[in-house]
């Protein structure tokens, strides 16, 4: 799968073409380590000088995509990459069998689970602000999220989708995406489990 989508170039304030694909390989994981981590580290150093920034940074430190190499062969796992200007701008891992729906009206039914979604650090406004630079692209995470919803429909899951939201993203998933906050998960660092029903997924894709 490889499709042209659009993200926002913040330098010109307009949409530009990008590619979203699921033929993610080890080279892409290495790219995140080589290209992304130094920027994250520099931003983390700058942010550590500022108060109340602890929630954002640690999540970007510990996730090492290269450790996911063995999962590239698993049918239950799918990785998506988003590239623009010859560089990886975002990456996402989804699973289709480990988790199932928790909302009472669809409990036990299969869903696409977003295990991790990450934008390149230069696309994260707070990180770049810490370095005194502008954010490069917007809507990278949104395009990856849409790909997960579309996969759920293609799989026959009717758009059912679930994820554990990081504290800083809860507002985005609930208010902007329209997901239902189901409850905190004590087995997953007490993160908030959010879920899409088929109707919510339809509304999201329709832009409502």
């Amino acid at each position: 799968m490889r499709e042209t989508i659009q993200i926002i170039d913040t330098q010109i304030g307009e949409p530009v073409d990008a590619e979203i694909f699921d033929e993610v390989a080890l080279a892409h994981f290495i790219e995140t380590q080589a290209e992304w981590r130094p920027v994250v580290l520099a931003a983390a150093r700058a942010l550590s000088q500022q108060p109340n920034q602890g929630l954002l940074i640690p999540r970007h430190f510990h996730w090492d995509w290269t450790r996911k190499e063995a999962e590239l062969k698993l049918l239950a796992v799918r990785f998506y990459g988003l590239a623009c200007e010859g560089k990886l701008q975002g990456i996402m891992k989804v699973e289709t069998v480990v988790h199932s729906c928790r909302l009472p009206e669809q409990q036990g039914k299969p869903l696409v689970y977003i295990d991790y979604i990450e934008s390149a650090p230069w696309n994260i406004k707070k990180l770049m602000a810490a370095l005194g630079q502008p954010q490069r692209f917007r809507a990278v995470g949104t395009r990856l999220f849409e790909a997960a919803v579309l996969q759920s429909q293609e799989e026959g899951f009717r758009g059912r989708l679930g994820l554990h939201s990081l504290p800083g993203s809860e507002g985005f998933y609930i208010n902007e995406c329209g997901m239902t906050p189901v409850g905190r998960d004590p087995h997953k660092q007490n993160l908030l489990w959010c879920e899409f029903t088929p109707e919510q997924a339809e509304r999201y894709l329709a832009g409502e």
């Binding site: 799968m1 063995a70 698993l74 049918l75 239950a76 289709t96 069998v97 039914k109 299969p110 026959g156």
Partner: protein
């Protein structure tokens, strides 16, 4: 969407009955259900091959190891 290939699947009446029942229960087509089963089998097999164990836990928190062939 990735290209797909077609195959014929021969099932007994009982197997087909279970497939029908699970398809309704999970709100999936039969094809999607079998695809899920294959993914799960591969995932479990890969983890057991690398030395992990699979357990079920009952309501009393008693664990029972599940053998997978």
């Amino acid at each position: 969407m990735n290209p797909k290939r077609t195959m014929t699947l021969n099932l007994t009446d009982q197997e087909m009955s279970v497939l029908d029942q699970l398809s309704v229960q999970k709100d999936l087509s039969k094809t999607a259900l079998i695809r899920q089963a294959l993914r799960l089998y591969q995932l479990v097999d890969a983890r057991i091959t690398r030395g992990e164990k699979l357990f079920f836990e009952d309501q009393d928190k008693q664990k029972a190891e599940l053998m997978v062939l």
